[in-house]
Symmetry: C2
Subunit: 492 residues, 2 copies
């Protein structure tokens, strides 16, 4: 069928073509089918939506992510991509071959799958799991689909936390420690998707995080380290697209976690890697045994890829650090680097850095690098090269001035700080969009409080966001205080 | 957030709101999230898409299926619907309770699920199956979600084939036979989705099929039977929405088949039902044992709903009848009713009608009702009431005049007629959109042919459609002819 194409913008969706309902009938095309568009000797594949108004009969709406297609084009119904058959195979609990996973990864990368199919891939790997072999292959295929960073050095360090813990901003402390020891550590981080801050959002409080691969390599050549946003470079583009389908379902299958993390490490050229696996009620990995199993698989896949890889299993039931939200977390980080700050954040960062230094065969200890001020010096160097103010001090980082402080309704012991609720409150307060919004925790689990003591303060930039957070706060118990005897035995 | 809404048309997609990227960031809304829109004291839920162009900052594009929302509206990020947690539970292989299935059905019905979530529901019920208990509950919930047809009669007959066989147009033969015996049979049928004709497409060659529930009841009160399109009445609206997610994946889990079919029968007020389960290579049910298991489950769920239900297990490896495509199938039907026509279509229709008459406690035999001309008379009566020409004869039904006849390249026996390829050829020739397009099979499995004998003729209305079909035909072997010894033992 010959149609006249015009560009339309439906934003972030897969490459889409809008057909008038009569043309769709004529083509035999249903919504979510694919059509091939031939334009200027090239063929593009788009996913069908049907309209009665947005385009006229004979017209074709084409989203911009299909390339700039306008004018007269040939349109035919396209067959189902092979990957749909392989996804079905996975739903049927049949192990996939390397070339089948490769086809799936290529089709996801080229946006040839619709949301139902992408969701089915996620569900298949979630319910039926990925074997170790499949995980290795998927990791390689995902890495192959993106850009790579090449290094002359034989030793490139990296660290990653699988996330799920509020605060927990260890990266901007570990990176300068390791870089100060003379080890290259080109760290890319993510922005928040459902959390109140990603490492990239937090670092962005202090300097730019949006660089090209060449710029990143220049920064690392100059300072040994970097703290940049991974989304700007194309290290494992398929990962972001898979996450898009995982997010609505809140599923994160272990094999996908490994492939997601290690494909990026592989593309970043990392050779020595520490993976942090927080576990416990409310975090991504709920039990110690599941955390251990995931750690073993991480090591096997890492070793298969030629990496020296160690895992840490850490407590993930409560936030790490006091601040939640970009500015509040950046302040925690800067306090630790200047010799102050939350003890748990300091200890966790030092332990991860020590393990990384050890597998890199470096004799120096993280504690020395931090206490001597060399890590702080390196940190200031990196943020200066990344376009930030290297003279920044913790007191320069001022959280939102619209606040609501929640105090203890009784005396006792803090028995629980709910990660998920703390994150939700910080998001309602405006984080990560409002950098100064978030929460400051005055207490941690195990602290003794008397009635009226501050538990936490909500910070916001805008009145309505503060109201939004406080209205939720009143309906939930984000920080639990129990009397000394109830702390052990609570009667319901 | 307060935005100004305007209507946009992205056709058939779930109720969608288009947010400008800056407003989406401010709301913390990602694509596929949901927002609540408050307008005129009512709250609507829409699924988020993000744009930089189609709406301006401060504006909100709202698809028409959300209701006609315009002007200033309040917009807030909506929580995930509960059904998403239940879908995840199903992915985790946990049996769902009745109220959980009910919530899922309600959310699907209200279009509150995005495609990823809908796909996940289909995948969960496909990989982990539905227990008999879940199937019963799902059937009831799906029926409850739609309209119902109420009858004064204590006996309402119905039949259904789970499909997958080309041709197989038994419904327009069974309905008049049963109606002629004095039994009410208010038959609703579907249009083609991926096949070259649904029963509704075929009947539409002869008369209207698009009626309201009241009109359908009037037709049945007058004639005892009807042959109408089920899509125009809202008997199990959720079913169509589930099928939308099943189609791209080509999955059709047994529990879903049962719930889909019997929810509609329940809503149609059917009390006595025959379900035809074609099985064999290439049909929906591949093995005899799977067909038997499905039949048993159909009976259990049907009995639970208070129906008298029998199943037939029939061969589904090759087409039934000679014509494929609306006009060609309608001609087969009319030939059988006038005492001629394909023998397999006649025999299958008579057997299904006999079983239905038997469970309805009717003494008359289908063969007598057909051979006496009473079925034909009833047929003409029904199509007249449905606005058709009751004097139509088989010769009035002329297939497309642009033809290509495929002949046997060797002498031997027809060993296989490929259902899937035959359907694909008929679709390429233009069916079901072009009513006269399709295929006529000159031979069936077991027929002896000599080189040069006609195997089948492709009929089309348009030259390019004929070319499209013939170009596929040359690359495949839709009808297989083998020499007498090869027919039994083929050496590869």
């Amino acid at each position: 069928m010959q149609l006249v194409a015009e560009e339309i913008d439906i934003g972030t969706r897969s490459p889409t073509v809008l057909l008038h309902v009569t043309d769709a009938e004529e083509l035999g095309a249903h919504p979510l089918d694919r059509v091939e568009i031939r334009s200027d000797g090239r063929t593009h594949t788009g996913i069908v939506e049907v309209t009665e108004e947005l385009v006229d009969p004979g017209g074709l709406g084409v989203t911009r992510n299909l390339g700039h297609i306008t004018g007269s084009v040939g349109v035919t119904l396209a067959p189902k991509p092979d990957s749909v058959y392989y996804i079905k195979k996975k739903l049927d609990e049949i192990e996939l071959e390397r070339d089948e996973l490769d086809t799936i990864v290529r089709d996801i990368n080229a946006d040839r799958l619709n949301d139902v199919e992408l969701g089915a891939f996620v569900c298949g790997t979630y319910t039926n799991g990925l074997s170790l072999q499949e995980t290795m292959h998927l990791t390689e295929c995902m890495s192959d689909a993106g850009e790579i960073m090449a290094w002359d050095d034989s030793l490139i360090a990296d660290k990653h936390s699988i996330g799920g813990v509020a605060g927990n901003r260890v990266t901007p402390i570990v990176v300068p420690i390791v870089a100060a020891a003379g080890i290259k550590i080109p760290k890319t981080s993510s922005r928040a998707v459902t959390s109140p801050a990603g490492t990239a959002d937090t670092v962005e409080v202090l300097c730019d995080v949006d660089f090209t691969i060449d710029e990143i390599q220049d920064i690392v050549h100059e300072t040994n380290g970097c703290m940049v946003w991974g989304g700007a470079v194309n290290l494992s583009p398929v990962d972001d697209k898979i996450i898009r389908a995982e997010t609505p379902l809140s599923v994160d299958p272990p094999g996908q976690i490994i492939a997601s993390v290690l494909s990026k490490k592989q593309s970043a050229g990392s050779t020595h890697v520490v993976i942090d696996i927080p576990y416990g009620e409310g975090s991504k990995v709920e039990s110690l045994s599941a955390a251990r199993e995931l750690a073993e698989d991480f090591k096997r896949v890492g070793n298969h890829l030629g990496m020296t890889l160690e895992c840490t299993i850490t407590q993930g039931q409560q936030p790490i650090g006091r601040g939640i939200g970009p500015v509040l977390e950046a302040r925690d980080v800067l306090q630790v680097l200047t010799g102050d700050g939350p003890e748990d954040l300091r200890l966790k960062s030092l332990r991860l850095a020590d393990i990384l230094l050890e597998i890199c065969d470096v004799d120096e200890r993280a504690g020395d690098l931090l206490d001597s001020g060399r890590a702080l010096e390196k940190f200031r160097e990196i943020i200066e090269v990344q376009g930030g103010d290297s003279s920044v001090e913790p007191d320069d980082l001022v959280p939102g001035r619209r606040t609501e402080t929640v105090s203890a309704g009784r005396s006792g012991i803090v028995t629980h700080v709910n990660n998920r609720l703390i994150s939700e409150l910080a998001r309602r307060a405006g984080a990560p969009k409002d950098k100064r919004a978030g929460l400051y925790l005055h207490q941690a689990v195990g602290d003794e409080v008397v009635e009226g003591d501050d538990l936490f303060t909500i910070h916001a930039e805008k009145v309505d966001k503060l109201q939004d957070a406080t209205s939720l706060e009143r309906r939930v118990e984000a920080v639990r205080v129990r009397s000394r005897d109830e702390a052990l035995v609570e009667r319901i």
